[in-house]
C-alpha cells in the first residue's frame, strides 16, 4: 500500500483553545504542507497552506450512525484534495466544539478511498482546565471528545491550581487511559506532540498511564500526614455528595512503600461496613471505615490519635470537599500523596479498559469474539486498539476500531518484544471482568 497521508483531528469544547492552536499550526514554520479543514474561521488559501472553510454542518453527526449524510461531504472534500498534484504532508481537521468526533474518525475506517490514501494519525482534544467542570458531567460531547483522544491538552493551566489539575487529569485518565496528556497554557505544546503522534501506539498507551492495567480502587486519593501530639481535625467546606468515605491507617514512615502497604489495607477496609460520622464526630485510626456525613457550611471531624505518621485514603479528591487536615499550628500538608483510579465512575461510566495476556490467540476464535463484541457493544465502544500474537503467524497483528468498524493490519515483526496480546477499549458501560474473561477464551 502506498504511503498514506496522516490526518490529525482536532476536537475540544467551545473556548478550549482550538483556534489558538490552529493559528499556531498555520503560522509556525514547521516545514510541512498542511491542508486545514476547519469550520469556524478562515478562508481558502493562506500562503503555503490550504485552508478550507468547510462549514460546520458537514461534520454534524447522527448519533454515530455510519450511514449519516455528513460523511459524504467530508469524503468528497478530502477526495478532491487527494486528487491534486500538490499533495499535502498532512491534513488537519477541526471539528466544532459541539461535535462528537466519532463520525469524523469513522470516515477513515469506512470509506475505501479514504482508507487507501489517508490514515488517522491522532485525535487531539483540547480541554479547558478551568471550565471543563461545567460540562464534563453532563455533556456527552465532552466525554466523547475525551474518550476518542490520542492526545489531550489540558489547556489554560495557568487559571487553576496544581491540585485541581491533578484531579482533572486523574478523572480524564479514568475515562481514557490511552491518551497522552500534556498540560498547557495558550495551547503551547511542541507541534511534534500533536502532529507526529504516529497513530497506533499501544506500547505508549501502556507507558503513559501506569495505573492503566492496575486494579481500580474504591478511593481516589491517598496521602501520608505527620500528625503532631495533640491531634488534629479534618475540616471540609463543600458538600458535593451526601457523604464520603475515609480511612485512617497508622504507617511506619512517610515513604512510598509505606503508602503502598497502607493502600492494600485501605482496599480491604473499604469493603467493610462503614460507620457514619456526622460533623464533630471524633475519628480514630482503629481500623474503622468512616463515612463522613456532609452538610452545608464548614464541617469539622476531630482526629484522636497519638503523634506519628498516618495514611488517609479518601473516596473523593480532598479538593472536592475543600478538605484539609488542621493541627494546632495550622494546616498539615501531606508529605506524600497519590491519585488512584477509582472504581466508581463520575461520568456515566465512560472509561477505558486495558487487557494484557501472554500466549497466542486462536484466529477464528478471535475473529468471532471481535465480531460479536462490535455487534453487541459497538454503540458503546468509542475506540479500541490492540496488538495480537496469532498462533501460526510470525508477525504482530494490530487492529483499531471505531464503534462497529474494525481495521486489522499486519503489524510487522515482533523484534525483541515479547509475543504478548495487548488491548485497549474506551467507551461507555465497559465491564472489565467480562472483557477479560471473554478475551481469555480466544487464547489458543
Amino acid at each position: 500500500m502506498p504511503k498514506r497521508t496522516p490526518v490529525t483531528i482536532l476536537t475540544g469544547f467551545l473556548g478550549a483553545g482550538k483556534t489558538t492552536l490552529m493559528n499556531r499550526v498555520l503560522t509556525e514554520q514547521h516545514g510541512q504542507r498542511i491542508a486545514v479543514i476547519e469550520n469556524e474561521f478562515g478562508e481558502v488559501g493562506i500562503d503555503h497552506e490550504l485552508v478550507i472553510n468547510a462549514e460546520e454542518e458537514i461534520f454534524e453527526m447522527n448519533n454515530g450512525c455510519i450511514c449519516c449524510s455528513v460523511r459524504g461531504d467530508l469524503i468528497r472534500i478530502l477526495g478532491t484534495l487527494m486528487k491534486r498534484r500538490d499533495q499535502f504532508d498532512r491534513i488537519l481537521i477541526e471539528t466544532t466544539g459541539m461535535a462528537d468526533p466519532g463520525p469524523v474518525v469513522q470516515t477513515f475506517f469506512v470509506d475505501d478511498d479514504m482508507k487507501e490514501q489517508l490514515v488517522v494519525d491522532a485525535v487531539v482534544t483540547l480541554v479547558d482546565a478551568k471550565h471543563v467542570w461545567e460540562h464534563i458531567d453532563d455533556s456527552d460531547e465532552v466525554k466523547e471528545q475525551i474518550a476518542f483522544a490520542d492526545v489531550i491538552l489540558l489547556n489554560k493551566c495557568d487559571l487553576v491550581t496544581p491540585g485541581e489539575l491533578d484531579k482533572l487529569e486523574a478523572q480524564i485518565k479514568g475515562m481514557n487511559g490511552m491518551a497522552k496528556v500534556h498540560r498547557t497554557t495558550n495551547a503551547q505544546v511542541p507541534l511534534e506532540a500533536i502532529l507526529e503522534v504516529g497513530g497506533f501506539n499501544l506500547d505508549h498507551a501502556m507507558q503513559v498511564d501506569s495505573k492503566f492495567l492496575e486494579p481500580e480502587y474504591p478511593f481516589e486519593w491517598g496521602g501520608i500526614f505527620e500528625i503532631p501530639a495533640g491531634g488534629a481535625k479534618f475540616v471540609a467546606t463543600e458538600a458535593p455528595d451526601l457523604s464520603m468515605k475515609l480511612v485512617l491507617i497508622p504507617v511506619a514512615n512517610t515513604g512510598e512503600q509505606a503508602l503502598a502497604d497502607a493502600r492494600e489495607q485501605a482496599v480491604r477496609m473499604y469493603s467493610h461496613d462503614s460507620i457514619k460520622a456526622l460533623p464533630s464526630f471524633t475519628l480514630a485510626a482503629d481500623g474503622t471505615t468512616w463515612e463522613l456525613i456532609l452538610k452545608e457550611g464548614t464541617m469539622e471531624w476531630p482526629v484522636e490519635v497519638t503523634a506519628g505518621s498516618y495514611a488517609a485514603f479518601t473516596e473523593h479528591y480532598p479538593e472536592e470537599l475543600g478538605l484539609v487536615l488542621n493541627g494546632a499550628d495550622g494546616e498539615i500538608v501531606p508529605t506524600l500523596a497519590a491519585a488512584y483510579k477509582p472504581d466508581h465512575e463520575h461520568d456515566e461510566k465512560v472509561s477505558s479498559v486495558g487487557i494484557e495476556h501472554d500466549g497466542e490467540c486462536d484466529e477464528p476464535k478471535l475473529s468471532r469474539w471481535l465480531s460479536t463484541l462490535v455487534r453487541e457493544q459497538g454503540v458503546d465502544i468509542f475506540r479500541m486498539k490492540g496488538v495480537f500474537a496469532i498462533k501460526g503467524s510470525a508477525k504482530r497483528t494490530i487492529f483499531q476500531g471505531v464503534h462497529m468498524l474494525l481495521d486489522v493490519q499486519d503489524g510487522g515483526s515482533w523484534g525483541d518484544r515479547p509475543r504478548q496480546n495487548s488491548l485497549v477499549f474506551i467507551g461507555r458501560n465497559l465491564d472489565r471482568e467480562a472483557l477479560n474473561e471473554s478475551f481469555r477464551k480466544c487464547l489458543a
Binding site: 481558502v44 472553510n53 454542518e57 468528497r76 472534500i77 478532491t80 486528487k83 500538490d86
Partner: protein
C-alpha cells in the same frame, strides 16, 4: 502465443481482436488529475479540466487550441452552453468565467462569495446557469449574469446539480441525505427525496421522468419524479461513482464495483422487478461510464486503467479500447459519436476516433 498467467494480460489478449473499432488518435497531458472532459455541442472542441492548472481546449484530432487560466485553489467545473457559443468555468476562487467559444479576448467574470465550489451547469435551454455555492445553489441569467434564484441554505454542502432535460426551469440538488427538486421562482422545493444517507451524484433520465443518484453506501436511488416514488437498488460492491443514461432513456448504466450493471428502464415501472444485465470485464472498480450517441455502445473506465466498449444488447463480451497505466477518471463521447475522450488520474487525455 503462450497463455499469460496475469489476469490483466489475459483480459488484454481475449479482447485484443475487437479493439480496433476505436483506435487512439491522440495523447496529451494536463497538468494534473483529469477532473472533467466536455465536448462542445458541435463536437469540434474538447474542454479538459485538471484539478490544478490551466483548462485546455483540444480539437478532435488532439491538437491543443487554447489554454484558459486556472482557478486558484482548484478548478471546480466546466460547462458548454447548449448553443456551443460559450464555455463556463468555475472554481474554488469563487469566480465564474464565461468565455466566447473563439477564446479571443477576456471572459465575462462573475465573482461570488467564497464557498465550496465544484458544480456549475447550464439549463437545457441555455437561458440560465446554476452554481453550487457551499450549501446553496444560485441561478444566474446567461445574458446579464444576474442572480434570479437561490435556494435556501441546506444542511450540508451541495454535492451535485442537474437540470431536468424536459423542463428547463427545474433542477435537482444533491445534499444532506437525498435529493431536492427545485423550480425557478418557487421558494420551497417541489419534492424532497430524503433517504437519510449520502448521495454523490445525480442524473436525470432524458425524458425527465427519473432522477437517479449514485450513493456513498453501495446503492442507487431512482426517484419517479411525477409519482414521487423512490426505488432503492442495493447489492453493489462499492459506492456508486458513475451513472449513464442511454440516449433514449431505455437503459441506465451504473458502476459500483467491478461489474457494470445496466438496468432496463423503458417499462412503466422502470427497473422495478427487472433483471439487470451485469457486465464483467474490469479488474478494478468501474468509475467512468458513457453511452455512445445512438445508445448502442457503452464505454466504461476503471481503476484498473481499462477502457472497455460494450454492446450490451448484442453480446456480453467487451472490446478493449485501451489499457492505461493510471485509473480512468472520465469518459466522454463526442455528441456526433465519432470521438471518445478518455481522462486519467495522472492527467493524460486520450482521444479515440471511430474507424467505421
Amino acid at each position: 502465443m503462450p497463455e499469460s498467467k496475469k489476469p490483466e494480460d489475459r483480459v488484454k489478449l481475449e479482447m485484443m481482436s475487437a479493439a480496433k473499432l476505436l483506435p487512439q488518435t491522440s495523447a496529451t497531458r494536463l497538468s494534473d488529475h483529469c477532473l472533467d472532459l466536455r465536448w462542445s455541442p458541435d463536437s469540434t472542441l474538447l474542454a479538459a479540466m485538471p484539478c490544478l492548472g490551466q483548462i485546455e481546449l483540444f480539437s478532435p484530432a488532439g491538437e491543443r487550441l487554447a489554454q484558459l487560466p486556472e482557478h486558484p485553489n482548484g478548478n471546480g467545473a466546466i460547462a458548454w452552453h447548449p448553443s456551443g457559443e460559450w464555455l463556463l468555468t468555475y472554481g474554488q476562487d469563487a469566480e465564474v468565467r464565461i468565455y466566447e467559444a473563439s477564446f479571443q479576448g477576456q471572459p465575462k467574470v462573475l465573482t461570488l462569495e467564497k464557498a465550496w465550489a465544484e458544480r456549475a451547469e447550464w439549463s437545457p435551454n441555455g437561458e440560465h446557469f446554476a452554481v453550487a455555492l457551499g450549501k446553496c445553489v444560485a441561478v444566474f441569467t446567461a445574458d446579464g449574469l444576474e442572480e434570479i434564484y437561490r435556494i435556501p441554505p441546506q444542511k450540508s454542502t451541495i454535492c451535485d446539480i442537474s437540470w431536468n432535460p424536459s423542463q428547463p426551469d427545474e433542477f435537482a440538488s444533491v445534499c444532506d441525505g437525498g435529493v431536492r427538486l427545485w423550480k425557478l421562482g418557487k421558494a420551497k422545493p417541489m419534492s424532497h427525496f430524503d433517504w437519510g444517507g449520502a448521495s454523490l451524484l445525480s442524473t436525470w433520465s432524458p425524458d425527465g421522468r427519473w432522477v437517479v443518484t449514485g450513493d456513498q453506501v453501495p446503492s442507487v436511488h431512482l426517484y419517479d419524479v411525477k409519482r414521487k416514488d423512490p426505488l432503492h437498488i442495493q447489492g453493489y460492491e462499492t459506492k456508486v461513482k458513475a451513472l449513464a443514461w442511454e440516449e433514449a432513456g431505455a437503459w441506465l448504466a451504473t458502476g459500483g464495483g467491478r461489474l457494470v450493471t445496466i438496468w432496463p428502464c423503458s417499462s412503466r415501472k422502470g427497473p422495478n422487478g427487472a433483471t439487470p444485465i451485469q457486465l464483467s470485464g474490469h479488474l478494478g472498480d468501474a468509475i467512468a461510464l458513457d453511452f455512445s450517441p445512438g445508445g448502442k455502445g457503452l464505454v466504461s473506465g476503471g481503476r484498473d486503467g481499462l477502457v472497455l466498449l460494450w454492446m450490451p444488447q448484442s453480446t456480453e463480451a467487451p472490446a478493449l479500447i485501451s489499457h492505461q497505466e493510471y485509473e480512468i477518471t472520465r469518459l466522454r463521447w463526442s455528441p456526433n459519436g465519432q470521438s471518445l475522450a478518455v481522462g486519467t488520474k495522472n492527467g493524460d487525455v486520450f482521444i479515440h476516433t471511430l474507424t467505421s
